[in-house]
């Protein structure tokens, strides 16, 4: 008689692939449901291919308060009873699992592709015999008097990534929004297999281009855990500075874009420009405004000299002042606040039920932040207080960003003032074979989760990337319920999710 087994690990702590194995699917399902009932949150759920075309279903449940991850797995073949039927958080994961591995979660409430990844004209070996055209699928629909449907995308009005939005409305009011993605699907997870290779770092840096640092850090921490690499304090600090610069740049840009969506042009103009200034600070680190080329396994590829520190200090100061002046205008303008207040509100209960992450969760009063809950790198030594608000609406999501901008700017300055000496790049050895690791970082949108494992040859035999957008797109759909359809752009911008990070 086998007994229940699972693994409890910390952020990016490697373990043997077989340690987490449960005897059967029913035990697996019960274990995951129990973990969630005890306050766990599904950070990853997917199926890992093992020998001879078999699969193992794997779940990573994050306990934010305890700072530990529980990893469960079980052999799976063909089908299994859906977890989503009892646990809404699992809904999107199980669609991904079904689409990628062809394993059917029986009783799943809405089983359909999330990426349409078999729709490749030049593709080989599509699992699905009937490849579906991206976005051509069943949608929830309503009928009745004054009921109408609005379809938006994939090509949008601005310079925006492609996605399809289907609204079921009565008059101006949205009953339901269904979001259909996959247009940006370019096969990153598939191409990661067999790595690390010369292109691997570029895949993670472009998984979501505005989060190059966040994803590169998650990848590097995964690789470092599997190779037992020690990263120097100086490199940890430079990574931390880059991660927070990425956060500030995007948050400032979002506040400007939110101002633009309610027609308040002063803040839109100022923040649009300041965002560029912050991106230019990242370019001071490595030459690239998105931080490409900076974070590498073993540390960072560029050092900071005194001149760069002086330059960054000077620029930080003026960016902090300009941002304060620009953003304060928002909170003092009744025309802005009237649009932000109580628009697209989510409750903390719903936030937990569907497993939101990042500023969207913190704006619901849920203090969830990988930097504090699962501290990594420099955040084990220097804490940034978690910023929350309790309204769950557009205002909350905007205000949390503003709080985070201020705290991140202060953090960056502190780190620049006390840069530890030492080297910046440690040599990275071969990856240990048959090992498994889960690496979490807090990107500016929220939790980035990379799940990786190696085969007997020490190469990736499985690589899963969960961008925060993977968790939060459904939150946007829920936020639109009973809202005016004209508030969609505003709600959408208040989440500002990644299409490419979802589609991969």
């Amino acid at each position: 008689m086998l007994h229940d087994q699972y693994v409890t690990v910390h952020n990016s702590q490697a373990f043997d692939c077989d340690e987490s194995l449960l005897p059967d699917l029913e035990r697996f399902r019960q274990a995951v449901l129990e973990a969630v009932a005890k306050g766990g949150r599904i950070a990853a759920l997917s199926a890992r291919p093992v020998n001879d075309g078999d699969s193992r279903i794997v779940a990573v449940v994050a306990f934010d308060a305890e700072g530990v991850l529980q990893v469960f797995s079980s052999p799976v073949a063909g089908e299994y009873p859906a977890i989503a039927a009892d646990c809404p958080q699992a809904h999107w994961f199980e669609r991904d699992l079904w689409e990628q591995r062809g394993i059917v979660p029986l009783g799943h409430p809405w089983l359909k592709p999330i990426r349409f990844s078999h729709a490749c004209s030049r593709g080989e070996a599509a699992d699905d015999p009937s490849p579906a055209t991206c976005g051509v699928t069943d949608f929830f629909s309503m009928s009745g008097e004054e009921v109408h449907e609005v379809a938006v995308g994939p090509v949008h009005a601005g310079i925006i990534e492609p996605g399809h939005f289907r609204f079921q409305c009565q008059g101006e009011s949205v009953y339901h929004l269904e979001i259909s993605l996959g247009y940006q699907h370019r096969g990153i997870e598939r191409a990661m297999l067999g790595g690390p290779a010369v292109r691997t770092i570029h895949y993670v840096e472009t998984a979501s281009g505005d989060t190059s640092i966040g994803h590169a850090m998650a990848y590097c921490r995964g690789v470092e855990s599997l190779s037992g690499t020690h990263v120097s304090p100086r490199a940890q600090v430079i990574r931390g500075i880059a991660l927070e610069l990425e956060r500030v740049a995007n948050h400032v840009g979002d506040l400007g874009a939110l101002a633009g969506d309610v027609g308040y042009l002063p803040t839109m103009s100022y923040c649009g420009r300041i965002r560029g200034d912050v991106l230019n600070m990242t370019a001071v680190l490595c030459g690239n405004r998105f931080g490409r080329g900076l974070v590498r396994p073993g540390g960072v590829a560029f050092d900071l000299d005194d001149e760069a520190v002086r330059q960054l200090t000077r620029r930080l100061k003026s960016a902090a002042k300009d941002t304060r002046v620009a953003v304060d205008l928002l909170w003092e303008s009744p025309s802005v606040m009237a649009r932000f207040d109580r628009t697209g509100a989510l409750s903390p209960e719903l936030c937990n039920e569907i497993g939101l992450v990042g500023p969207a969760a913190r704006a619901c009063g849920v203090p969830r932040d990988v930097r504090r809950d699962f501290p990594f790198g420099i955040f084990r030594f220097a804490q940034i207080p978690v910023s929350t608000w309790d309204s769950g609406d557009v205002f909350g999501r905007a205000y949390v960003r503003w709080l985070e901008i201020q705290r991140s700017l202060a953090f960056i300055q502190e780190q620049l003032d006390a840069l530890p000496p030492g080297q910046i790049l440690s040599p990275v050895g071969a990856l240990a074979p048959n090992r498994f690791s889960v690496a979490l970082t807090e990107g500016w949108r929220g939790e980035i989760c990379h799940v990786l494992s190696t085969g007997p040859d020490g190469k990736f035999d499985w690589y899963k990337i969960f961008d925060p957008s993977f968790h939060n797109w459904f939150g946007l759909a829920m936020a639109l319920r009973n809202q005016q359809i004209s508030d969609f752009p505003l709600c959408n911008k208040s989440f500002n999710l990644s299409y490419c990070g979802h589609d991969l």
Binding site: R115, A119, C120, S121, R122, E124, T133, C134, P154, V155, A157, G158, I159, I160, E161, P162, G182, Y183, Q184, H185, R186, G187, R190, A191, V198, R199, H202, Y203, T206, A207, S208, G209, D210, S212, S269, Y270, G272, R273, R275, G276, L279, A283, V284, G287, N288, R289, F290, R292, F302, A308, K321, D322, V325, A326, D328, L329, E332, S333, S498, C500
Partner: protein, 258 residues
């Protein structure tokens, strides 16, 4: 209201004077147009070739001439790092765009890339260029650094260049991304909806060659496999200055010699 005016004064005037004045300062580690000196290459050395993530480099077996295709290059500088002889250097020249795919390939003696469009189309679009942007796969960084040209720091509108919502209002497309199979139909329909004559500008390594997704079955190795491309803008992503330079060159608004 008074506070808004005060804030306006505090923020000041921030639009770059380029191209009439000097371009904004580029960061110290900026990687621009590569410069190649094949005469420095060590005999039989090919270390740069496997270091390149996108097969952008080639060494002619007969002439020993190194060539670097900036249309594929991610500007990661791994080739420069592994080269024991310093034969490949990345300069600070941000002017990377070309109307010829072949001229994106840099060798010891290659001419500088240049945008040379037909005079008739420049006369037609030179004073008002409306573009529809199509994001066709990729990572959203090229989109972000195209979008930034609309901010007050760059103020693209002062050149008569504008991004419009409808392809029917557009004079052409600005395409980013490798063109995933999932965006192919949307791109083709959008292209057809733009009235002729029209131009197509491909921005970023993905849109030119597939970029890091080169030869992925899920994507099409760039826009040119589906629509005719007039201007190529290399980079991963290109710096906003590189994109602005390309757009100004497209409409013939660059002062002589820039």
């Amino acid at each position: 209201m008074l506070k808004a005016i005060k804030a306006r004064l505090q923020q000041g005037y921030r639009t770059t004077s380029y191209p009439d004045g000097p371009p904004p300062e580029l960061p110290r580690h900026f990687a621009g147009l590569p410069v190649i000196d094949s005469s420095k290459c060590l005999p039989a050395c090919r270390q740069c070739i496997p270091a390149c993530p996108t097969q952008a480099l080639d060494i002619d077996t007969r002439t020993r001439q190194v060539s670097l295709d900036t249309g594929r290059c991610l500007f990661c500088r791994e080739c420069q790092r592994v080269c024991p002889a310093g034969a490949i250097q990345f300069s600070r020249d941000f002017r990377l765009a070309s109307s010829s795919r072949e001229r994106l390939v840099v060798t010891d003696s290659s001419p500088l890339p240049a945008v040379e469009l037909d005079g008739a189309i420049v006369r037609l679009l030179g004073r008002s260029l409306k573009l529809r942007q199509v994001s066709a796969g990729g990572c959203n960084a090229c989109e972000a650094d195209t979008n930034v040209l609309g901010t007050v720091g760059w103020d693209l509108g002062r050149f008569g260049i504008q991004f419009v919502a409808s392809p029917r209002h557009a004079d052409g497309l600005l395409i980013t991304g490798p063109v995933t199979e999932n965006t192919r139909l949307a791109l083709e329909k959008t292209y057809q909806a733009v009235p002729s004559p029209k131009i197509v500008i491909a921005v970023g390594a993905c849109a030119i060659s597939g970029g890091p997704y080169l030869d992925h079955p899920e994507a099409h190795n760039g826009a040119a496999s589906l629509v005719p491309v007039d201007v190529y803008v290399p980079g991963c992503p290109p710096h906003p200055l590189t994109i602005l330079h390309a757009l100004l060159a497209t409409i013939g608004r660059l002062p002589r010699g820039l």
